[in-house]
């Protein structure tokens, strides 16, 4: 896969005027996220890991953002959204029930646990969940499409796009205090913002991105 912002590393700005002390502390904690679960059981953890890989596949060339760990942290620390749909149980219970029900669906469809299925089959089951087609006692009355939309998707994708690795991929400026930005208009770039690779010249963008800071 061609990188859109080759060589851009938002962390290179860590000691510039774009980052303050409280932001450095925040991002340091995120980068040091422990990868062992505190909330999920070993079986749930395996299923969750497989779900994360399908919802947010990551390039093989780098260490993955530990998405299951971020979901686990949210549940273990009780970091709530501030609202709950009446059809859904509290978030931790929703995850436990949903992962068990997905695993049950995998056994029923393919005779194997979810994390052992081929990626295409894993995707098939997620699509069924998204469309509201998974039913059965294991769901305990929880609509599977609501679990998918309001738990699976936000808990995994929010964790990913809160990570500096994702900011590098999409060319986001990242933390910006106290310096902020100066060049505001269309097609304007401050020297501390990512350079997009032109169709024919990724090398030039890479050279410029090495100087972003």
């Amino acid at each position: 896969m061609t990188e859109r912002y080759p060589g851009y590393d938002v962390l290179a700005k860590r000691w510039t005027q774009s980052w303050n002390e409280q932001t450095r502390r925040t991002i340091d904690r995120r980068l040091a996220m422990p990868v062992e679960p505190r909330f999920f059981s070993p079986a749930e953890w395996q299923t969750l890991g497989a779900v994360c890989e399908r919802i947010m596949p990551q390039p093989k060339e780098r260490a993955p953002v530990p998405l299951p760990a971020f979901v686990d942290q949210k549940m273990a620390d009780g970091l709530r959204d501030g609202y709950r749909y009446a059809q859904l149980p509290p978030q931790g219970e929703a995850w436990r029930r949903g992962l068990a029900a997905l695993d049950r669906a995998a056994h029923e469809a393919d005779g194997a646990p979810y994390h052992r299925l081929l990626p295409e089959r894993q995707d098939d089951l997620l699509r069924c969940m998204q469309r509201g087609e998974l039913t059965g006692e294991a769901w305990g009355g929880m609509p599977c499409e609501m679990f998918f939309e309001h738990r699976v998707i936000p808990d995994i994708t929010h964790a990913y796009y809160a990570h500096p690795v994702a900011w590098d991929e999409i060319g986001f400026g990242g933390p910006a205090s106290p310096r902020g930005y100066v060049r505001m208009g269309l097609d304007r770039r401050d020297p501390w913002e990512a350079v997009e690779a032109a169709a024919d010249n990724g090398a030039a963008a890479r050279r410029k991105n090495a100087r972003v800071g």
């Binding site: 859109r4 947010m56 749909y85 929010h158 796009y161 986001f172 400026g173 205090s177 930005y181 269309l186």
Partner: protein
């Protein structure tokens, strides 16, 4: 550099001092009152409604204690440039949402901090269209307010001055208003595209009046366009209540109690409130007060009034009309997004630097109510929320779309939804961490709401097409802002409070937040809340002078 203690661990406003929000580790003096000292006013909530009232009452010589369930933040030390870390500003206690169109809460619609949701609001500071104060008689829908727009026009001017609103010299719509106190901010790429689209459609646009300063003001430096504006402002350019009316209130002798959750209003045998029960530092306490003002916004305000029910008031306090908790209104907040060939980099600057209020002032429509739309600048976590909830994307398809981030452009509406008694706040059976019953929030859109949304989505799409955006998609399911659960009126049978925000039933009980709005209008609400709070402070002072308190 000193590191201040965790704002959640223990109250900061204590021992005769409160945080100096403008200086690291510094303090300002704060007067304090004992629980058994009968204060003139106990105000529950310190946001856009509570804070100006607390300041105005203290300046009038009243003894005032302002309670907030959230912490007392120090912006320069506590606010990181980070979406997730800043979720600490939201009200994330459990709430149950249902109905045909359940409301999204949390980051939307709530703040739990001294200063309330103004600590993380997007700073858009607009006036109502004058006719909205009489929308039933002038426009044929909703309900009339017991306020006169000319009086409100004066309070808007005072609120804009108090918050040093940055805006245009001439505002394109409505009756004449003074020029804004500070010059308008420059446009970012997203705002330029709104302007071009509006001009192509032949409708007016303007730089958005914003509560972030474009030049120094007191200890606030000018905005540096860092773009984390829907979160805490780490430079104090944002004129939130935390850095404007709260410091003013302290100087005037008010006390602020942070991390203080009010759970019940106590009623005396004579039919008057006698004070509030609140939880602070792990125990329930009782503050005696001659007057109680509820300013907790449209969920917590009715929740507290309902939870304070007694044998004499079995349906909750101030509820002889049966309207406490009813007529909950939100605002339609749908959007249209597209992709530009140019780099927009919409994360720079306040997200809504340009606006068109055209459809708030043009009545050639086949539905009631109006709407505006503004430029957009979602940061990555918000953007992935929009991509997934609007398009159902995940996997590689989601990654591919997210990579276009710097080329995205969008327009987002703030639209009027009509009052409906079936949309309401009630108490669920389950309890929160304080042992209080959580709010159940029920919401369904009406046919008029849907017609308005359809119209707006079509108009915004035309604007995006006019500037050459491609790959256009709609965010059809989003709402924001709350109102209406303790409406004001001029008749005790059809409203909860009168024009002075005073309960019809209990003479020393007041409501001062957006719960009192009978209709919601097609603009962001905070400036109107603040204007009403400033008026209420004046009215209470006038009533007291006449011996009518």
């Amino acid at each position: 550099m000193p590191v201040s203690a965790d704002p959640f661990a223990a109250p900061r406003a204590a021992n005769g001092r409160a945080p100096d929000v403008f200086k690291r580790g510094a303090w300002v003096a704060m007067r304090q009152f004992a629980d058994d000292e009968i204060v003139d006013f106990a105000v529950v909530g310190t946001g856009a409604g509570g804070a100006p009232l607390i300041a105005g009452l203290a300046e009038g010589g009243f003894s005032v204690v302002g309670f907030d369930a959230g912490p007392y933040f120090r912006p320069l030390e506590d606010f990181a440039s980070d979406e997730r870390e800043q979720e600490k500003l939201y009200w994330t206690d459990e709430r149950v949402v249902d109905g045909a169109n359940p409301l999204t809460m949390g980051g939307k619609n709530s703040g739990k901090a001294v200063g309330g949701s103004t600590v993380h609001f997007a700073m858009v500071s607009l006036r109502f269209r004058p006719e909205w104060f009489k929308s039933r008689s002038a426009l044929g829908y909703g309900a009339d307010w017991p306020l006169d727009w000319r009086e409100m026009w004066d309070y808007y001017t005072r609120a804009e001055k108090a918050l040093s609103i940055s805006g245009p010299v001439n505002y394109p719509w409505g009756p004449k208003r003074p020029r804004y106190p500070y010059r308008a901010h420059e446009l970012n790429g997203a705002a330029v595209l709104l302007a071009r689209g509006a001009e192509a459609m032949g409708i007016k646009w303007t730089p958005t009046p914003l509560a972030t300063v474009s030049a120094p003001r007191g200890q606030s430096p000018p905005c540096v366009y860092r773009g984390f504006c829907r979160f805490g402002c780490s430079t104090n350019a944002k004129q939130s209540q935390l850095v404007t009316f709260i410091p003013k209130a302290l100087r005037a002798g008010a006390e602020i109690r942070d991390l203080a959750m009010v759970g019940r209003i106590e009623m005396g045998p004579g039919g008057c409130a006698t004070g509030v029960h609140y939880r602070r530092e792990g125990r329930w306490r009782f503050q005696k007060a001659r007057n109680v003002v509820v300013a907790g916004y449209a969920i917590e305000t009715p929740r507290l009034l309902l939870a304070s029910a007694t044998d004499r008031y079995p349906d909750g306090l101030g509820n002889s009309s049966g309207l406490v908790g009813k007529n909950l209104m939100t605002q339609s907040n749908q959007a249209v997004f597209g992709t530009m060939a140019q780099e927009v980099r919409w994360y720079k600057g306040p997200p809504s630097l340009a606006i068109t209020e055209h459809w708030n002032y043009d009545d050639r429509k086949d539905f009631a109510g109006g709407y505006c739309w503004m430029a957009q600048g979602p940061l990555p976590v918000e953007w992935v929320t929009i991509q997934t909830s609007s398009r159902g994307l995940w996997g590689q398809a989601l990654r591919d779309e997210m990579e276009k981030y710097n080329h995205q452009v969008g327009l987002k509406m703030v639209g009027e939804m009509l009052p409906d008694e079936r949309n309401r706040v009630t108490l669920a059976d389950e309890k929160d961490q304080y042992g209080l019953r959580v709010a159940r929030v029920t919401y369904s859109w009406g046919d008029n709401d849907k017609s308005l949304i359809t119209h707006a989505l079509g108009q915004m799409q035309i604007s995006l097409e006019a500037v050459g955006a491609t790959n256009i998609f709609r965010q059809e399911n989003d709402t924001n802002h709350l109102a209406g659960t303790a409406r004001m009126g001029d008749n005790a049978a059809t409203s909860v409070v009168n024009a002075d925000c005073r309960s019809w039933d209990i003479p020393n009980l007041w409501v001062c937040d957006r719960s009192v709005f009978p209709t919601t209008g097609g603009v962001n609400p905070s400036l109107t809340i603040t204007a009403i709070a400033m008026r209420t402070a004046d009215r209470i002072r006038a009533l007291a002078a006449r011996g009518e308190l």
